[in-house]
C-alpha cells in the first residue's frame, strides 16, 4: 500500500477542481439570471 496517499491526493484534487469549477459556473449563471429578471422588471416598469 506504499504511495496510496499519493493516489488518494491526486484523485481528491482532481475531483475537487472539477467540482469547484462546476459550482463556480453554476453560481455565475444563477447571478446573471437574477440580473436578467431584475432588468426585465425595470424595463416593464419603465413602459
Amino acid at each position: 500500500m506504499k504511495n496510496l496517499g499519493s493516489v488518494m491526493t491526486a484523485y481528491m484534487i482532481g475531483w475537487g477542481v472539477f467540482f469547484l469549477y462546476f459550482v463556480s459556473v453554476a453560481r455565475r449563471t444563477a447571478e446573471l439570471r437574477k440580473d436578467v429578471e431584475r432588468l426585465k422588471v425595470t424595463l416593464t416598469r419603465g413602459k
Binding site: 493516489v7 484534487i13 482532481g14 477542481v17 432588468l39 424595463l43
Partner: protein
C-alpha cells in the same frame, strides 16, 4: 431541467464507476505499484483537455467565418473547460512523477509544452476580460484562439518527436496495456468526456445568459 439533472446524474454514476474500477478492479502495475493508478485520471484528463481545446478551435474558426456570437460562446466554453482539465493534468502528473521518477517535474518536451498550453489558454481567458465590446472581444480572441491551438499538436506529438522523460503512449498501441487496465482506462475516458460535455454545455449557457443580460442592460440604458 429534468434532462440536465439526468445528464449530471449519469456523469456522477460514470465517474463513480471509473473510480471504483481504478481503485478496486485494476491490477497493480509491476514496476510502479499502486501509484500507477493515477494513470486512470491523469491520461484521460490530458486527452479530454486536448478535445476541449479542439472544441475551442472549432468555435474560434467558425466565428471568424460566420461572425455569429454562438461560435464565440463555444470557443470560450471549450477554452475554460479545457483549462480545468489541463490543470488536473498538471497537478496529478507531478504527484505521480515524484514516486515514479524521483522528481516532481522535468523540463522535457511533453511537460513543458503542456505547461505552455495551460499558460496560453489562461492568457486567452485573460485577454477576453480586457475587451469590453462583445464583437471586438470575439474577433480578437478568435484570432488568438486559432493561433494558440498550434501548441496542441505539439503537445500530442512531443513524445514521438523528442526524447522525453514522459513515457511513450500505451493507449493507441496494440498490446501495450493489460486488457483489464484498458477497459478501466476506456471507462475513465468515457466518464471524463461525458463530464467535459456537461461542463461545456453549462459554460455555453452562461455565455448565453450573459449576452441576454447585456442586451437588456443596453435596452434599459436607452429607455
Amino acid at each position: 431541467m429534468t434532462a440536465k439533472l439526468i445528464g449530471a446524474a449519469a456523469v456522477v454514476v460514470l465517474l463513480s464507476a471509473s473510480a471504483y474500477g481504478a481503485f478496486f478492479v485494476a491490477p497493480n502495475e509491476l514496476t510502479m505499484g499502486i501509484v500507477q493508478r493515477i494513470f486512470y485520471l491523469h491520461a484521460p484528463c490530458g486527452m479530454t483537455a486536448l478535445v476541449a481545446f479542439l472544441v475551442c478551435f472549432v468555435g474560434n474558426l467558425a466565428y471568424l467565418f460566420k461572425r455569429e456570437a454562438k461560435w464565440d460562446w463555444l470557443g470560450v466554453a471549450g477554452a475554460e473547460v479545457g483549462l480545468a482539465f489541463c490543470t488536473v493534468v498538471l497537478i496529478t502528473g507531478p504527484i505521480w512523477a515524484k514516486p515514479a521518477w524521483g522528481v516532481y517535474w522535468a523540463w522535457d518536451a511533453r511537460l513543458t509544452s503542456t505547461l505552455v498550453l495551460w499558460l496560453l489558454y489562461l492568457s486567452y481567458l485573460i485577454l477576453r476580460t480586457m475587451v469590453d465590446d462583445p464583437d471586438r472581444r470575439a474577433l480578437i480572441s478568435s484570432f488568438y484562439g486559432v493561433f494558440i491551438f498550434l501548441d496542441v499538436p505539439l503537445v500530442y506529438g512531443s513524445i514521438w518527436w523528442w526524447r522525453t522523460q514522459h513515457p511513450q503512449p500505451v493507449v493507441f498501441t496494440s498490446g501495450g496495456m493489460d486488457p483489464v487496465m484498458r477497459k478501466i482506462f476506456n471507462l475513465s475516458w468515457l466518464s471524463l468526456t461525458a463530464l467535459m460535455i456537461l461542463l461545456i454545455r453549462q459554460r455555453y449557457e452562461l455565455e448565453e445568459v450573459r449576452a441576454a443580460a447585456q442586451a437588456l442592460a443596453q435596452e434599459a440604458e436607452a429607455a
